[in-house]
Amino acid sequence: MRAHRMLGIVIAAALTATVTTGSVAGAAPLGPQTSRTLGAWIIPGGTGAPNVLTWSSFTGPNNTNLAGKALNGGGTWIAQFGTWKLSSKNTANSSNTALSNLTTAVGTVSAAVESTTLDFGGNPRAGLVALSNGTSFLYAVYTKTAGGTVQLYKYVSGVSTLLASTTGVGLPIVAPMRLDATTNTIRVWWDGTARLSYTLTASEVTLLKSAGHDRFGIIADGDASTNFDDFHVDQ
């Protein structure tokens, strides 16, 4: 009988302890929360950014001859008419040679080329090349005449022909230029603004948009003072 009583006391004590322990987890209301607003959306789609086919930051030892050198983004430089070297400012500049150009093959005739030009106090006539196969190509140049002029030329069989021109584009010391040949309508941007537009004729499309005209690059026409930086070809 005594053993029974002891057993009952022990079980009662255990139950009490359990109930006491359980009260630790008891919930108490904190009070009302304030109402909140929420807007949430998942929006599919890309940013529309161009694909960079190749690029160069023109970094390397001063006076490095760029002909045959690799670009940062792949491909190699091809120098035509003149000599192109790296400067101590990590830019590229040309010898004082007519139509000196430096291009790279990107494997497509639908692309846009862009580079920053830096005028170090000379008389610039410099810009960009598109759709070159080495013997014929398009090129756009900037000069300081008439408050700043941008011109678009085609070069065929040793002859340059003016296709479009505009003046009064300003005289910035540093400015980006972009030559867009992604379609048959060629467009030129200078200092962040669209300046020229020219639609290729059927014969020009046949000539310049044909296989092998996949070289894009920079040009300095008798201009050893203009420097180039931040070169890239986009699609």
């Binding site: 053993a3 359990t18 987890a25 209301p29 929420l38 949430a40 929006i43 789609g45 890309g46």
Partner: protein, 139 residues
């Protein structure tokens, strides 16, 4: 009259008592283990609910500004313009996350000041990899 239990019954009761004591010992051990965590002094817990409403019911539209990064040779999304925000969203906080199918690529945001607003990305995203954007307005 003295109640005399048989020796067999006494042994059985002792065994039961031992089992209970063992159980209590285990409970005490468990309690001691829990007590050894320390620092759990708070004993109150609350739960409630409140209405969550949307400040804009018809969604928003995004436009991207992509800038060439000459160091990486890539275009980066540096600004996202959010338009079509309802007036009820003004004053609230907008967060944008740009992502691919598998990873977050960049984020930005700020206070909403109007129906259309450009938000600078504090972490620019590799523009070519972006396949979706998550926009959240809270406040």
């Amino acid at each position: 009259m003295a109640h005399v239990q048989s020796p067999r019954r006494q042994r059985r009761l002792r065994r039961r008592g031992a089992v209970v004591l063992l159980g209590l010992g285990a409970f005490g051990l468990a309690a001691a283990s829990a007590a050894s965590l320390g620092g759990l002094g708070a004993t109150t817990l609350g739960a409630d609910n409140a209405a969550v409403t949307s400040c804009d019911s018809d969604g928003v539209t995004l436009a991207y500004t992509n800038t060439y990064n000459a160091t990486s040779g890539k275009y980066e999304t540096t600004t996202v313009t959010v338009s079509g925000m309802a007036a009820a969203c003004t004053g609230k906080t907008l967060s944008i996350t740009l992502a691919s199918a598998t990873a977050s690529l960049g984020s930005g945001g700020g206070a909403v000041t109007g129906a259309s607003q450009a938000f600078v990305m504090t972490t620019p995203a590799d523009a070519k990899l972006v396949t979706q954007a998550a926009v959240v307005i809270t406040g």
